[in-house]
């Protein structure tokens, strides 16, 4: 037999199909018998607003002078039926994140930061705390399937009501807050025994479908004497139909949350494999509103992976009235800060990757209800960081709007955009850069 021991060998080659992450997941599943649960949003690459660019001004469009000429940013939500619509100074709001998934200090910081910028925060699956009401000048109260802590007094002291049908991270999924985070206060607010794994329902207990939702919205209006704007939040599954049906059901505002949208704790398989990205979802929601002649009458709020003033500007140019942010706001507060690297290492992860929020061990004191950890977050300082971040996003948004000759950010339009990829051109229905080609149109 020939001896090949000295002949050249191929180098070890990793499988693209069975990559390190996949292998680790198979081993983890085999060892534990339970699916992987984590926080955050989709981590894999998706078509995003990064695949769009603004054209800027040129011979036929003139720009506005930066810092000299006005570029307004205010927006009013809930103009369709509500007696008291929400007047926001900036079109960037804080998305619903529950007390329980977040510490009381984190909720307070969100309220402080948002209020300093004249925008709203949102409660979440766990009811309204006094701290967040006190520190949020404009507070949207979520109406979720679980109805934890739901009560008419909080409905009346809210500034708007958001009926949650779904979330982008998990369209069709219910809530989950594992036992580690069901502290005495959280348990009390949710009427649950301490330390149980809280599984909240995926469907509302007293209505199914748009015909029922119309009656439900009517009831909420009657209870609050038609004062409050009523939002309907959907995960981006079928945004064209869901938006149309939300409008038909009587919503004042539709919130569409793309698949990148963060969550406190959901099965990894759900986060990565259900729903469509934010980019095509905005387009579809706007199409529904236009066809119903309801664009700008029913306002559209978009969320899921919004990180910068550029993302906001592109969402507005595609027809959204405002955006909301979850993950980015948490990062501004101090989530996943490299300064805490040593502690992340102890948890078997690294800054930037920490997503086991359900375990309640967050060294930054944000996604935890553990009293000692929670104390680490100073709500005043964290609130200031959020204010700064929102302020930067707003200036970026204005910079882009002025560059496109707009004296109000709401005047940004699809005409200002070009796509860098064929996928983005098809999904956003704007021309591929350097062409007049919009896939599916011409």
């Amino acid at each position: 037999m020939a001896d090949y021991s000295d002949s050249p060998r191929t180098v070890p080659r990793k499988s693209a199909t069975f990559d390190d992450y996949t292998l680790s997941e198979i081993r983890r599943a085999a060892a534990t018998g339970i699916y992987d649960i984590r926080g955050g949003g989709t981590k894999r690459h998706l078509p995003t607003f990064d695949d769009l660019v603004f054209l800027g001004a040129s011979m036929s469009r003139y720009p506005l002078e930066g810092y000299r000429e006005r570029c307004d940013t205010d927006v009013v939500l809930g103009t369709r039926f509500a007696k008291k619509p929400l007047h926001l100074k900036i079109p960037i709001t804080i998305a619903g994140m529950s007390f329980g998934s977040l510490s009381a200090n984190a909720k307070e910081a969100l309220g402080r930061g948002a209020s300093a910028m004249g925008t709203s925060t949102t409660t979440g699956d766990g009811g309204m705390t006094d701290e967040e009401r006190e520190h949020s000048s404009l507070l949207v109260y979520q109406y979720l399937p679980s109805r934890y802590g739901m009560n008419p007094d909080d409905l009346r002291r809210a500034d708007a009501i958001e009926v949650v049908v779904g979330q982008g991270a998990k369209p069709g999924g219910g809530g989950m807050l594992l036992g580690q985070k069901i502290s005495p206060r959280v348990a009390h607010m949710r009427t649950l025994p301490e330390g149980v794994d809280q599984r909240s329902a995926c469907r509302h207990p007293d209505w199914t479908g748009p015909d029922d939702l119309e009656i439900k919205i009517h009831e909420l209006r009657e209870i609050t004497d038609w004062e409050k704007p009523i939002y309907v939040k959907v995960g981006a599954a079928r945004p064209y139909y869901d938006t149309a049906l939300a409008v038909k059901s009587g919503a004042d505002v539709v919130v569409v949350d793309g698949m990148q949208g963060g969550t406190a704790a959901t099965q990894e398989v759900f986060i990565e494999h259900v729903g469509i990205p934010t980019l095509p979802a905005v387009r579809e929601a706007v199409r529904a509103l236009r066809e119903l002649d309801m664009h700008r009458t029913v306002q559209l709020v978009v969320s899921g992976g919004i990180r910068s003033g550029a993302d906001v500007a592109k969402a507005l140019a595609m027809g959204a009235d405002a955006v909301s942010i979850g993950t980015a706001a948490l990062v501004a507060l101090g989530d996943n800060d490299p300064a805490l690297e040593e502690e992340y290492q102890k948890l078997g992860t690294t800054a930037g990757c920490y997503d086991d929020w359900h375990e309640g061990l967050d060294p930054a004191g944000i996604t935890t209800t553990e009293p000692e950890l929670e104390k680490r977050l100073d709500p005043v300082k964290a609130g200031r960081r959020l204010r700064n971040y929102l302020s930067v996003m707003t200036m970026e948004l204005q910079t882009l709007a002025r560059a496109n000759g707009k004296s109000h950010v709401k005047n940004l339009e699809p005409e200002d955009l070009a796509a860098l990829t064929v996928e983005a051109a098809a999904m956003a229905q704007v021309p591929l850069a350097g062409t007049n080609w919009v896939p599916g149109q011409n």
């Binding site: 534990t32 008419p152 949710r190 649950l192 207990p205 029922d212 009656i215 009517h218």
Partner: protein, 227 residues
């Protein structure tokens, strides 16, 4: 100035007009005529009013009730007394689905039967049904008591937390993690007091008591079939 002791006719007045008058009232007895199956009637009440509705109502009658005593002399649609906080609701006829859904407190009495999902996600309300209840009643029930003098449909108390269920008739089947519990003297006394409060004459000893087996409270691979 607030009104009291008034009769409203839904054929002559708008639902909004009646509800806002009821919201403005601080006390008194009110009668609503010709409800005609209207939705969201007498919802969001927030004062110790006595409201009598003469006829059938649609969805969410007396929803989110606080303090008021509402009597419906007829049948009620879906979600009657949803998220009730306190006060009482008495239905002289039958109730549709999701009776008292997510109710946090107070008492609901149905003199007829209630359909599917009675007491779904209940969080402290007491519900007494003289007739039967439909399937999936007390689904994910967290706290409070559901008392059924007749029979209960399939999957009673599925995924129940700490609510207590009492059934005098047959139970088609119990849902995941719901089991029969002993009916001790203290349970009988408490049930007797609740029946009395509900104005129902029945022997507490004739009921069976059900509650959570607490096997689904924390994930366990060996209970996978029940999830």
């Amino acid at each position: 100035m607030t009104i009291s002791n008034t009769t409203f006719d839904l054929e002559a007045l708008s639902l909004r007009g009646i509800n806002s008058a009821l919201h403005a009232a601080e006390e008194g007895a009110f009668t609503v005529l010709n409800p005609g199956g209207a939705h969201a009637l007498a919802c969001g009440l927030n004062a110790p009013l006595e409201v009598t509705i003469k006829g059938h109502t649609g969805y969410y009658c007396a929803g989110m009730n606080k303090h008021a005593a509402v009597t419906i002399e007829g049948n009620v649609g879906t979600g009657c007394g949803e998220n009730i906080m306190s006060g009482t609701i008495r239905v002289k006829g039958d109730a549709s689905q999701s009776l008292g859904a997510t109710g946090h407190g107070g008492l609901i009495v149905v003199e007829g039967s209630a359909s599917a999902r009675a007491g779904i996600s209940m969080k402290g309300v007491d519900i007494v049904v003289k007739g039967d209840v439909g399937h999936m009643s007390a689904f994910m029930a967290q706290a409070g008591r559901l008392v059924v003098l007749g029979d209960a449909g399939a999957d009673l108390g599925d995924s129940i937390y700490e609510a207590e269920l009492f059934v005098r008739g047959k139970v088609a089947s119990l849902g995941a993690d719901c089991e029969e519990k002993p009916l001790g003297d203290a349970d009988k006394a408490a049930l007797g007091a609740l029946l009395e409060q509900a104005g129902i004459d029945a022997d507490p000893a004739a009921f069976k008591r059900y509650g959570s087996a607490r096997k689904l409270y924390n994930f366990n691979i060996d209970h996978m079939d029940s999830y």
